[in-house]
């Protein structure tokens, strides 16, 4: 037990947890926006792969890191546009379209990568975002290392989450988004454009998902691998449920999840890791996600119109 305690009170452990949580926060916020507006976006996994690729590729071609983030965001919006056209005005099955978008985005990233770099055997590296020690704050004992010595993208993740929370709860736009996710017919009667708001939410949310993917290449691994997203998108969907569709709770969920992920890596180095197969540790995050879903699903307030298309003609 003392072993576990030592891990849990070390600042480097929490710094790792915050780092691991960052891409999840971007993508979870993206998914949360889509779902609050009434659209389940299963394109998330593929859009993250696309963002990881386009962000990396832009920087590989010589653009600055910030531009890489912008390119990733734009590529995510493009696939969000595709998703939203099919699911919102046409009202097609959000499950099928989402999985189709995931497949299309993943395959397009792989196709383009192979086309652009046909001969490479080991993935080329880029110079990623470096830790940015915030003045004064980074000198605070423990918290300075855990929270304020991260890369710019991590700070951006938390700012985005804060902005999403404020916009959703404190602005007319947020109210309108929630209205089309709860009761689109009533929202339309108020003069709101259900189609426009839902499409906008999916397009913007997909952009955030792609930035979450870009975090992996621009801030974490500095190369692009085909299977680097590795189910993170699906975990973000679980995190939205876990957070009961609220940004603050979802961020806490992401950090909790990331802490668990960081913990399993460290536990592998302990005597425990010598006894138990490493696959068990790797499976822990997925098992934890399922357990979280079971615990939270019972009292979550699901947006009432989630997955229900809205067609003006119908009553």
């Amino acid at each position: 037990m003392s072993m576990l305690w030592e891990i849990l009170i070390s600042a480097s452990f929490w710094a790792a947890a915050i780092r691991i949580a960052s891409p999840l926060i971007f993508a979870t916020m993206g998914e949360l926006i889509c779902e609050r507006a009434g659209v389940l976006n299963l394109g998330i996994e593929g859009i993250m792969v696309m963002g990881a690729f386009t962000g990396w590729f832009a920087v590989y071609l010589g653009m600055p890191l910030g531009m890489g983030v912008v390119v990733a965001f734009a590529s995510g919006m493009l696939f969000g546009l595709l998703h939203s056209v099919l699911t919102v005005p046409f009202g097609l099955s959000q499950h099928v379209v989402g999985l189709g978008v995931t497949l299309l985005a993943t395959a397009t990233a792989a196709f383009t990568y192979r086309l652009a770099l046909p001969e490479v055997t080991s993935p080329p590296r880029i110079e990623p975002f470096q830790p940015w020690e915030l003045p004064v704050l980074s000198d605070i004992p423990f918290f300075g290392e855990a929270l304020f010595s991260q890369t710019a993208l991590t700070y951006l993740a938390f700012l985005v989450a804060l902005a999403v929370a404020l916009v959703l709860t404190r602005t007319p736009l947020g109210l309108a988004l929630r209205a089309v996710g709860e009761n689109p017919a009533a929202a339309a009667a108020q003069g709101l454009s259900v189609t426009g708001l839902r499409m906008g939410a999916v397009i913007f949310g997909s952009g955030l998902m792609a930035v979450g993917g870009a975090f992996l290449t621009l801030s974490a691994f500095s190369s692009f691998f085909f299977d680097m997203v590795n189910g993170r998108g699906w975990i973000c969907i679980a995190l939205v449920v876990f957070g009961a569709w609220r940004p603050g709770k979802a961020v806490l969920g992401a950090i909790l999840f990331a802490a668990f992920d960081a913990l399993q890596v460290r536990l592998q180095q302990t005597p425990l890791g010598a006894v138990l197969p490493y696959q068990l540790f790797l499976a822990m995050p997925y098992i934890l996600s399922i357990l979280a879903l079971v615990v939270m699903s019972r009292r979550a307030e699901v947006p009432q119109a989630l997955m229900i298309p809205y067609n003006k003609g119908e009553r």
Partner: protein
């Protein structure tokens, strides 16, 4: 814009959009070939030739279609009841694991042990899907996410097995399982042709599912639950029990894909047994409009694209991932086309 249902669709409306979707997919394929710097016609020709052009190619396509028929059926059965089983990949591996465990040592007559392998594999696959379905009916947990997450857990479990308890000592460090006994492999349908009985089993399964859906009470109940669960419950259909039965059938079908790949083709279990057959099954099922006999055709179509693209990318410099793009594009165009056979778009 809004959508208006069309009461009496004309022939043009019924067949036009799907034909256009197919044409659009071919156009996308040509564009991708152009982008890759290849001649579109030559590329398409190479894909078709590589899939159906020779006896070897044709058998390869049939072999590749076999697991896709099983996973396509698994998805078609489940989606009919609006049970979103995205976990056919996990159920496939469950079937493969059991096939290796039961088949790696002889303990009985072949006529007894080979069917036992299949039956136990089916049970394993069914149980893997039972978990998420009980979570759905009991606690209201969305099965999309749980079945997806199970895929990752199952793959790690397989990785543990092939590096641990089931590791082949003669594997030269390559992580694969002990082999299935030679006499317990699925025999070839015709001596000398590389096509095993798994393919025949897949065709029989499709037929059986079609009969089940059209001629039995369960088939009727599954449709009712899929169309409107509340109305079905009101009509006295035990919705949860129908969902559980659907899950058992669906999981079992996906497991047969694993059984047939191990016992019919590979002879052992490894982490790369399935290049996403479970996910491709979703596309196979959707393109077939969830019709079990249609699944056979769309599985052959998908298998053809994959086998053809593999062979084409060896000849031309077009990455083999073109197959995955075409698959996704065909899916998205086709679901839109099927919608447009029943609705007209009104711009206002």
């Amino acid at each position: 814009m809004r959508l208006e249902p069309v009461a009496n669709p004309t022939a043009a409306r019924r067949y036009g959009p799907p034909a256009l979707a197919l044409a659009a997919t071919v156009i996308v394929a040509s564009l991708l070939a152009l982008i890759a710097g290849a001649n579109p016609f030559a590329t398409l020709g190479l894909i078709i030739d590589g899939a159906f052009g020779s006896r070897f190619a044709l058998l390869e396509t049939l072999n590749r279609a076999t697991p896709l028929i099983f996973t396509g059926l698994a998805v078609a059965v489940a989606f009919r009841a609006k049970l979103w089983n995205i976990g056919a990949e996990a159920q496939l591996y469950a079937g493969a694991v059991v096939t290796v465990i039961v088949g790696s040592a002889s303990w009985g007559a072949v006529w007894l042990q080979l069917p036992a392998m299949a039956v136990l594999a089916v049970i394993a696959g069914a149980l893997v899907l039972l978990g998420p379905v009980i979570l759905k009916t009991r606690y209201g947990v969305d099965e999309v996410v749980t079945t997806l997450l199970f895929n990752f857990i199952m793959l790690l479990f397989v990785s543990y097995l092939v590096e641990g308890p089931l590791k082949d000592p003669a594997g030269m460090g390559w992580p694969k399982s002990v082999p299935v006994e030679k006499e317990l492999r699925l025999p070839r349908i015709v001596e000398g042709l590389r096509l095993h009985w798994g393919f025949a089993l897949a065709l029989i399964s499709a037929l059986a599912i079609w009969v089940m859906q059209t001629r039995t009470v369960l088939g009727y109940q599954i449709r009712a639950v899929g169309q409107n669960p509340r109305a079905a419950r009101f009509a006295g259909i035990p919705v949860n029990s129908v969902l559980v039965k659907t899950a058992l059938i669906s999981g079992g079908l996906a497991a047969l894909a694993g059984f047939s790949e191990v016992a019919g083709l590979k002879g052992h279990l490894s982490r790369d047994l399935s290049p996403g057959f479970g996910y491709t099954g979703i596309i196979v099922a959707m393109l077939a409009v969830l019709h079990p006999l249609g699944v056979i055709l769309t599985a052959l179509f998908m298998a053809g694209i994959f086998v053809g693209a593999d062979s084409m990318s060896r000849a031309a410099d077009v990455p083999t991932y073109i197959a995955d793009i075409l698959m996704a594009v065909a899916l998205l165009f086709m679901v839109l086309a099927i919608l447009l056979t029943r609705y007209r778009v009104v711009w206002r």
